[in-house]
């Protein structure tokens, strides 16, 4: 048996499972996407993404997802470097540290953020005690960004951390030895070597950021509309199954096209993605 054949053999249960419970349901949704409520074939639902309102929500989502992803990246790298510097290299500990918050229910965490950020909330309470001016970020897009960043930060952090912790100390020392300062070591060695981790972090953060409707509703006061909110509205409030399916399919197509282009191409090391 060749290893290729063996590979397919071993993947068989997974393939079976995926076809049965991922692809066929996807096909069901796709069928809804390309038909109208009376069953006729139509492209309207999928193309509805392009109309003014949906398109606007889509662009807002892109922007929010972009900012959140960027924030996650900007928060994650210093943290990875700090962990490296302080030699906190117990990966189990880091995993626990990042994952543990998820054991408090997601919606409870978001409600807690609402209590922290609201005008008479905990944050402002502390600011007042410290004699600082209050901040009014509840029910703004800023609160949405904080919530989404909070929620998906571990998904960014974990793969980057895994990639960086795989870099042997020798390599960074070699760079230092050859004259690179702390910044040089980071930009020339650590960052390029962490790219596979970064890319998988981006996929895991960017996509769900666009659709996290609950955060937009609770922290954004329903005033920031993500494409996720629109899809949710079509399905859960308006019973527009076909339109909802169409929008989600076109979102998915967009993701499938853009992510490999922006992410996959530069991620030469395939499969080195890790959690």
């Amino acid at each position: 048996m060749t290893s290729e054949k063996k590979g397919w053999g071993l993947s068989f249960p997974f393939i079976l499972w995926s076809v049965g419970f991922t692809l066929i349901p996807l096909a069901v949704i796709t069928r809804y996407a390309f038909t109208d409520p009376d069953g006729g074939l139509t492209l309207d639902n999928v193309l509805a993404m392009g109309n003014r309102i949906n398109g606007q929500a889509f662009l807002v989502s892109l922007l929010v997802a972009f900012i959140c992803t960027l924030l996650c990246v900007l928060l994650a790298y210093p943290m990875v470097m700090a962990i490296r510097r302080l030699n906190l290299s117990s990966s189990a500990f880091i995993l626990i540290f990042l994952i543990l918050p998820m054991w408090m229910n997601f919606i409870l965490r978001i409600l807690a953020w609402q209590m922290i950020l609201s005008d008479n909330g905990i944050l402002n309470h502390f600011l007042t005690i410290l004699g600082l001016p209050k901040v009014f970020i509840a029910n703004t897009w800023l609160a949405v960004i904080i919530g989404v960043t909070y929620d998906y930060f571990p998904y960014m952090m974990l793969p980057i951390y895994t990639a960086v912790s795989a870099i042997e100390k020798d390599i960074t020392e070699a760079a230092r030895d050859l004259g690179a300062g702390t910044l040089g070591v980071f930009t020339r060695v650590i960052f390029p070597l962490s790219l596979p981790g970064l890319f998988s972090g981006i996929t895991m953060v960017f996509v769900p950021s666009m659709t996290s409707f609950a955060v937009a509703d609770i922290l954004g006061g329903g005033k920031t509309q993500l494409i996720g909110n629109i899809i949710e509205q079509e399905f859960m409030r308006s019973s527009e199954m076909n339109l909802g399916s169409g929008l989600s399919i076109s979102l998915m197509i967009f993701m499938l096209i853009t992510l490999p282009v922006t992410v996959g191409r530069s991620g030469k090391e395939e499969g080195s993605r890790d959690i």
């Binding site: 949906n54 954004g220 329903g222 509205q233």
Partner: protein, 357 residues
């Protein structure tokens, strides 16, 4: 190695098969059960769970109870047919839709023992969606109005205008719901909330878009808490929320504006899938019983159509306008009926426009 892997695969396959079998078995099993059972679909937190146990104790009929968040996803799930529901409790316009689509069957009200507990006027207002009141049993009802903080809003509030005159900019919370939000605007403008007139609806849309900068947030669920916490001065809420809001913060007052509002009514219906009408009747009759209705009332604190319960309430509660709305609300408040498809699509688009603007 190959051996281990093969074994793992076998184990996995076996599990899958076992599970699918269990799933199918479940389907077959539920029908052939000897004991009587009912599958009940309700809003979440809308029935005192102890009453379910009590019902099973008294009648031996098992209840499979499921909850949904909105009428729409209740409808979606019901329509998908993935679960055979016997009884549904949902809102006025959704009932109208189900009746029209022939999804529900007549309830044998004649054989009810406790039907007299339900006030006749609730059946009357139900006529908006159930013209001959054959299909629905009123369960809870209420109004939509303004919950406001009297320590911030000094003047007496009696009109929707307070939401639109910019004097409380940034302190207003609206409902994150299509119908309830457009209802407010339509009523303020003096139109019917069931209007299908495009001009009227567009006028409402203009009003709401102009109002949006003043709105702190569009919330469903936490609107009450935000007013209680003092984060906002006023919120459009369901009457049931108002009572609890008042419990937490004495400064809060609830008013149904003089322009009129929505009078909503959530009712039970029996679906055409129901195999055991007698069990369903027993369950509905049970819900009408005074002790049961009272337990549910105290669980939820929404207005109950059960007059027996109302008359047994302490004076203080009877006088609470949110809990026991005065008769005047019947005069200028309307019940929601189902829009035609075109109108609901129009609302859908307008709402998205409002929210994304």
């Amino acid at each position: 190695m190959r051996y281990v892997i093969r074994r793992t695969i076998c184990a996995a396959m076996a599990l899958v098969l076992a599970m699918t079998a269990a799933g199918c078995g479940g389907k077959a099993g539920s029908g052939s059960q000897t004991g009587k059972s009912l599958t009940v679909f309700n809003y979440s937190e809308y029935l005192d769970p102890e009453m379910i146990e009590k019902f099973t104790e008294e009648t031996g009929i098992k209840i499979r109870y499921e909850e949904a968040l909105t009428p729409e996803d209740m409808y979606t799930k019901y329509k998908s047919g993935a679960v055979n529901y016997d009884l549904l409790c949902t809102c006025d316009y959704m009932l109208g839709r189900l009746i029209r689509e022939g999804e529900v069957v007549e309830i044998p009200f004649d054989s009810f023992e406790n039907l007299d507990n339900i006030g006749k006027r609730y059946f009357d207002i139900s006529k908006a969606f159930d013209p001959d009141h054959r299909y629905t049993l009123p369960y809870f009802w209420g109004t939509i109005g303004i919950l406001y903080d009297t320590s911030v809003v000094k003047e007496p509030v009696d009109s929707w205008s307070v939401l639109f005159d910019h004097s409380y900019a940034g302190d207003i919370i609206m409902q994150n719901s299509i119908r309830d939000t457009y209802m407010v605007a339509l009523k303020y403008l003096g139109y019917s909330l069931n209007t299908t007139d495009e001009n009227e609806i567009n006028e409402a849309q203009k009003l709401l878009i102009a109002q949006k900068p003043d709105v702190q947030a569009y919330l469903v669920d936490e609107a009450r808490d935000e007013v209680v916490a003092g984060n906002a001065a006023m919120a459009v809420v369901y009457s049931g929320e108002a009572y609890l809001g008042h419990e937490y913060n004495e400064n809060l007052e609830y008013v149904v504006p003089k322009e009129g509002s929505n009078i909503w009514i959530d009712s039970w219906c029996v679906t055409k899938n129901c195999k055991d009408m007698d069990a369903a009747r027993q369950f509905l009759d049970f819900l009408c019983r005074e002790d049961v209705a009272k337990a549910n009332f105290e669980f939820i604190y929404y207005s109950t159509p059960n007059d027996a319960v109302v008359s047994s309430l302490p004076e203080e509660m009877k006088n609470d306008k949110a809990l026991v709305p005065p008769d005047s609300v019947f005069e200028n408040c309307e019940v929601c009926t189902r829009y035609d498809e075109e109108t609901s699509r129009m609302y859908n688009e307008l709402w998205k426009e409002l929210k994304s603007g």
